[in-house]
Amino acid sequence: MIVEKKTMEQINPFKPEPARIVRTYYLTEDVKFFQVRLVDMDRALSFKYKPGQFAMLSVLGVGEAPFSISSTPSRPGLLEFCIRKAGTVTNALFRLKENSLIGLRGPYGNGFPIEEMKGKDIIIVVGGLGAAPLRSVLLYCLDNRDQFSRVSVLYGARRPAEMIFREEYFALRERGDLECRLTVDRDDTGAWKERIGVVTTLFAYLNKVKPENTYSLVCGPPVMYKFVIKELIKLNIPKNQILMTLERRMKCGIGKCGHCAIDYIYTCLDGPVFTYWNVIHMRELI
């Protein structure tokens, strides 16, 4: 028999809390933005999380899946997600109208090491939907702008319509305290005024990078990592200061269901944020 742990036992970590979709709209053809609030107002305001963490969202009767949180903890109350239509849960989420009830539990995962990043230069490299988890840390840095040194964003998408939050980026650039470079693989609108080319071509714009003092955060499709990391290594950014956030199948979010196991770690507990150093020393990470 094992010892009873009374305090922990009262909480069922698998139980989704009721949450309401406050607002939802399309960001691209297959990506939707969701603003969600826990129904219990006290819980909604006390829900503490870190940029880079994720939550499990449930559609009642359909199932549950992990989603990275796109909002910043510096703006409490509402949680935001940008979700691509890809499976059964996301298909069901897309059908839900504003004011619908869903289930939410979390936050889970390690998140970005914000404390270590303070006072440093931040280079955020985004590919496509990688903007979802990185938006959280970008907005966090901008909301606490004096705690960070230079902040740069390099964002590549396939075409202008697939660049999520592009209007938000244009607006953020107006602040003047952020270097923001945008590129698309090809312009099918004829109205694209930014760069055309893959995201690595934006590295040419970075000047006077102080590698020891820089943290680089990367998220994008699997193919992107190899090329982006090559550029970051060229800039001499230490391997443990190159951070990436990874995707895995997850059924629990708390290290029980096994699906996200890699070597001796669970992506849900020890990730989803990993350093490039982790990646070199752990098989199957990317």
Partner: protein
């Protein structure tokens, strides 16, 4: 720890008197194999069994159970599958199996379903004798010092009964007259001899000390491709393994109408969709990659975290895998032996 003596003929009297309220579960015969099943008839309890088909993890985490009921707006937890149970006849390897599951399910975010089932189950262990598939001596799980409420060692003339917890002690106190506190020198001698004989009875030996290094060194050998070819990806190895814990979760409704249930059911990392994410990306599409996960997780990764493998030497994978992929054949093959296994026969057939 107190050790008492119980007459052979008094065992069922004892079991009967302690299982008035809780259900008694014990190994019973099914065909030529054994299963843990609720006891309806005491004469059906088997005392000299080999491994049961499915380990007792099925009592802590049933193969399928309902986690939540939901209506239009909320999920409500459901613990109705958990009842008070006494589990008699569980072998040392399987108790080690539960202790291994404890580490996973109780750490960080304790799993309330596992915890509640564990708390409601009393463990009454029983000694056993190895057959040709047992290798718990190699995993050092043939001896058990914790994790049971009572442990019965089945000797020639009587049972020696170890009291492992206060709840175990309470059980004994329900019928104290059945137990004898006075062990004679002869009793002790009999136990020592039995123990020594048992140590010599193992026929299968595996070197688990070098296994993590071998796993590392041979991670990219063609061996894994060969085993991957032979693997049927049926998941049986995980179903019968006492330390496999992976599961899936799904919501079930009747014709899409609410209310419904959130169901949790056993999964296996050898199944094709195990590492597949929405959109179709599959991080372990190849069977060899999934088998590597199964084996490195148990024999390498677990060692790096807990200092020992998560294999308890029960031999279930040896008697279950239809194509002979199991801890023994994989370990021996990694050690460089040419093992008589299906994948070898298969490749011979193919290259003929």
């Amino acid at each position: 720890m107190r050790i008492l003596k119980l007459k052979k003929q008094d065992l069922f009297t004892f079991l009967e008197s302690i299982s008035k309220e809780p259900e008694l579960w014990a190994p019973q015969k099914k065909g030529d194999k054994y299963i843990f099943e609720k006891v309806e008839d005491f004469s059906k309890i088997e005392l000299q069994t080999t491994r049961t088909i499915i380990p007792p993890k099925k009592i802590m985490v049933p193969p399928v159970f309902n986690m939540f009921n939901f209506n239009e707006s909320e999920y409500y937890e459901d613990f109705s599958h958990i009842t008070k149970k006494i589990l008699f006849g569980i072998h040392a390897c399987d108790i080690h199996g539960l202790l291994t599951l404890d580490k996973l399910f109780v750490q960080e975010y304790p799993d309330p379903y596992y915890l509640k089932a564990r708390k409601n189950t009393l463990i009454l262990g029983l000694s056993c004798w190895p057959d040709e598939y047992c290798f718990c001596q190699s995993t050092r799980t043939h001896i058990i010092e914790e994790g049971y409420d009572l442990f019965f060692t089945n000797l020639e003339r009587h049972f020696l009964v170890w009291i492992g917890s206060s709840q175990g002690d309470d059980l004994v106190r329900l019928v104290p007259s059945l137990f004898d506190e006075n062990l004679t020198d002869k009793d002790i001698q009999e136990y020592i001899l039995w123990q020594a004989e048992k140590e010599k009875a193992f026929k299968t030996e595996i070197d688990f000390i070098t296994m993590p290094d071998l796993m590392e060194l041979k991670y990219n050998t063609p061996f894994w491709e060969k085993v991957g070819e032979a693997c049927l990806a049926c998941g049986s190895c995980s179903m019968v393994c006492p330390t496999c814990n992976c599961y899936n979760v799904t919501d079930k409704t009747f014709l899409g109408k609410k209310p419904g249930k959130r169901i949790r059911y056993w999964d296996s990392c050898t199944l094709p969709e195990y590492s597949e994410v929405a959109g179709g990306e599959n991080f372990r599409e190849k069977k060899s990659d999934r088998l590597k996960l199964w084996y490195t997780h148990k024999l390498q990764a677990y060692v790096s975290k807990y200092g020992k493998p998560s294999c308890v030497g029960c031999g279930r994978c040896l008697v279950t895998c239809p194509v002979g992929i199991n801890v023994k054949t994989v370990a021996k093959a990694l050690e460089g032996e040419v093992v008589d296994a299906f994948w070898n026969r298969l490749s011979k057939e193919v290259t003929k």
